[in-house]
Amino acid sequence: MDISYHDVLLVGGGGAGLRAAIAVAETNPNLSVAVVSKVYPMRSHTVSAEGGAAGVIKSGDTLDDHAYDTISGGDWLCDQDAVEIFVKEAPEELLRLEHWGCPWSRDPDGHIAVRAFGGMKKMRTWFAADKTGFHLLHTLFQTTLKYKAVTRYDEWFVTKLLVDEGRVQGVVALQLMSGRIQAITAKSVILCTGGCGRVFPFTTNASIKTGDGMALAFQAGAPLKDMEFVQYHPTGLPFTGILITEAARSEGGYLINKDGYRYLQDYNLGTPTDKPVLRNMELGPRDRLSQAFVKEVEKGRTTDTPYGPVVHLDLRHLGEKIINSRLPFVRELCLKYENIDPIKELIPVRPVIHYMMGGVSTDNNGATPLTGLYAAGEVACVSINGANRLGSNSLPELLVFGARAGKAAALAGMEQKPPSERVAAQALDEKRRLEEQFLGKTGGRERIATIRSEMHQAMESGAGIYRNQTSLQKAADKLRELRERFRDIRIDDHSLTFNTELVAALELSFMLEVGSTIVESALYRTESRGAHQRTDFAGRDDRNFLAHTLIFCNPDGSARLEQAPVVITRWPPGERVYGVKSEVKEVAAR
């Protein structure tokens, strides 16, 4: 079996991974850095972020303001020391990106332009037109091309972390093109594999966001933190998960149920008006809108489609002129990817999974409790997002903590000794497992797609916008059953060349794992906070739950839950002015 050696290994070539790679190369140009990614780096999901990246740069804005917005937005579950580091380093990172060529939008005088964003009280969101993530990722990717020290493993799929003597020593990875399975070892490994939106049926996330890194870390013994916090966005296109921005509603769009009724008036969200009114009806907070949708489904007042129940966003009354001038991108997305013209047709929408607040537990340098393992980006939970992430905080987060993790790994990497012999044996075992369980497997009755959609079902109905003991328990049981059935999956594809079915199977196994941790964590937290809303435990319970949830994998595969303290420095928990103020700002933005 081949083994390759590096000093620092990055799993993931998205924003976090590439930023970390550059940080390693700049900290010590003599280190060899490997970037392993299951897709070409510029295909990573960071590419689809649209809105922007928050960083204090304009006068009149302060770091404390940004910190406070973040902490209150996260319902006081953020580690405040981490948030302080984050807000301080975010502008530096965004500037660095500017120096690397990122085409940030500008003010007429040539300075960086900023816009307002949901939950941010000041204008501090940097943007590159409506393609911020795209420009950010491509700038990072193209910049990494100039570093000699970076070796890329494009389209290699990591299946396992190699752990020996309590230290992570590398990974086992499969080269898609050739089917070759080999060990890639390193003194430190940084996970930058992004989120896990695909555990749920309806999501804005790309197909590659299957929580691989979370499962890998979990199985290797590192704890996951705050997994119960999953962010919904109220208006996504049901089938594709494409996001329809708030702007559609702030320009005056209506949300209607199957009877054409503006149902939000039934949920204490005000009374219908013709013209949009802030904090009223359609311009209520994101979570309340998502919750109202669930109630409508329960009342049977939603429209059934092949993709489940939907309500409709009605823009027709705005007319062609307003839609074309104020909402061109909304129209373009609908036309190009859904074949719907909002000028003439209703847009089917529903709440969709958008972002994962939880993840691999790390300290402020991205280090996990497992020696040699780091994590950064959406896969990690530092945590600055707490119970609810603010829009435009995620991109700067992956820059700040990607850079920190890279630097820390580079410095740590120099002190450590090369991987042990036993690692090779472990890698061989993993290779055999893949061959036996998947590539060489015949028979089997379960289709991957069937298990996947049953998992989706279970997650949505059990751990969706509203959860309770019964629903979560049902989901947990279902997931257990599915993991059992997964052993009996049928593999049509036994080729070594670009076996995407093998990838789908591995991703499914990771998702089943991550799904369980979400459900278990949600069962554990018997309060409602931020994105975690329990109907059986309404209301925040700071006495028992102003704490992070940590979930560990026991040696026998079962889960163990613990609490960890939240770091509070200067901002004692307060009442969260939920949604109202943030929505006001957001409206002003567009």
Binding site: H45, V47, L95, E98, P103, L145, K146, T240, D492, T497
Partner: protein, 249 residues
């Protein structure tokens, strides 16, 4: 609208087949389905071994490029219903001019190497420390290169460019457009360095302005324009060094 539509998909397995062949599948025809959805339907429901790349399904990751009825397309932005009335199967093939690894997956390391060869990063003679703030750039200056910065590396332009097909050493439309994206950036000072790579036969001079690259580009990058404009720049530079040899680097 008919209930179903047939897809004729190119299959090739290097382990099994000497030559590729077509396989036909019937899939439901839905108004909001794109070609990619049909492929996913096949993979999930009919044949798990069908192989193709995709990720974002919103036209931004650049991985789902294929030939649909002979035209290079992003399959996540190409509706099946566009082909519903043609009464013949929709033909899906891997991107033209690239080696086929398997089924609809092509080998693109050639592009990745070329992209790197044109130095698509900001080159400065002197770096300014981050603490000194941003390099100023007016919206007008931004506008000069913005179009060329929109490339998602989907490689449709390569699949449209016969020059690349005939002579794979040609650096090709997207890579040159990206070089030009940095050349035109007011913050960049690397135009001379890139000129060495670009002003070669394999670079801009290989292009005969077929112009198809621009026509198929889903992001309106206009690589053909980038190349022509660069030809002009390179020519002016050439005459400059000829007339004023002392001014050469």
């Amino acid at each position: 609208m008919a209930e179903t539509i047939s897809l004729e998909v190119l299959r090739y397995s290097p382990e099994r087949d000497a030559e590729p062949s077509f396989q036909t599948y019937d899939v439901p025809l839905r108004k909001d389905w794109v070609v990619l959805d049909a492929l996913n339907y096949i993979k999930d429901k009919v044949d798990g071994s069908l192989t193709f790349r995709w990720s974002c399904r919103m036209g931004i990751c650049g991985s789902c490029g294929m030939m649909v009825n002979g035209e290079p397309k992003l399959t996540c932005a190409t509706f099946l219903s566009n082909y519903a009335n043609e009464n013949k199967p929709v033909r899906v093939q891997p991107l033209r001019y690239f080696p086929v690894i398997r089924d609809l997956v092509v080998e693109v390391t050639d592009f990745m190497t070329k992209l790197q060869s044109v130095k698509p990063w900001l080159i400065r003679e002197k770096e300014k420390p981050v603490s000194d703030g941003e390099y100023l750039q007016t919206p007008d200056q931004l506008d000069r290169y913005k179009q060329f910065s929109m490339c998602i590396n989907c490689l449709l332009c390569y699949a449209a460019c016969p020059v690349y097909g005939l002579d794979p050493v040609f650096i090709g439309p997207a890579a040159i457009a990206l070089a030009q994206r940095y050349n035109m950036d007011s913050r960049d000072e690397g135009a001379h360095e890139r000129m060495d790579v670009l002003a070669q036969h394999e670079g801009i001079w290989g292009c005969t302005f077929v112009g198809e690259c621009t026509k198929v580009c889903p992001k309106h990058v206009d690589p053909a324009g980038a190349i022509q404009q660069y030809k002009l720049t390179a020519t002016i530079e050439r005459f400059k060094t000829f007339l004023m040899p002392w001014a050469a680097r």
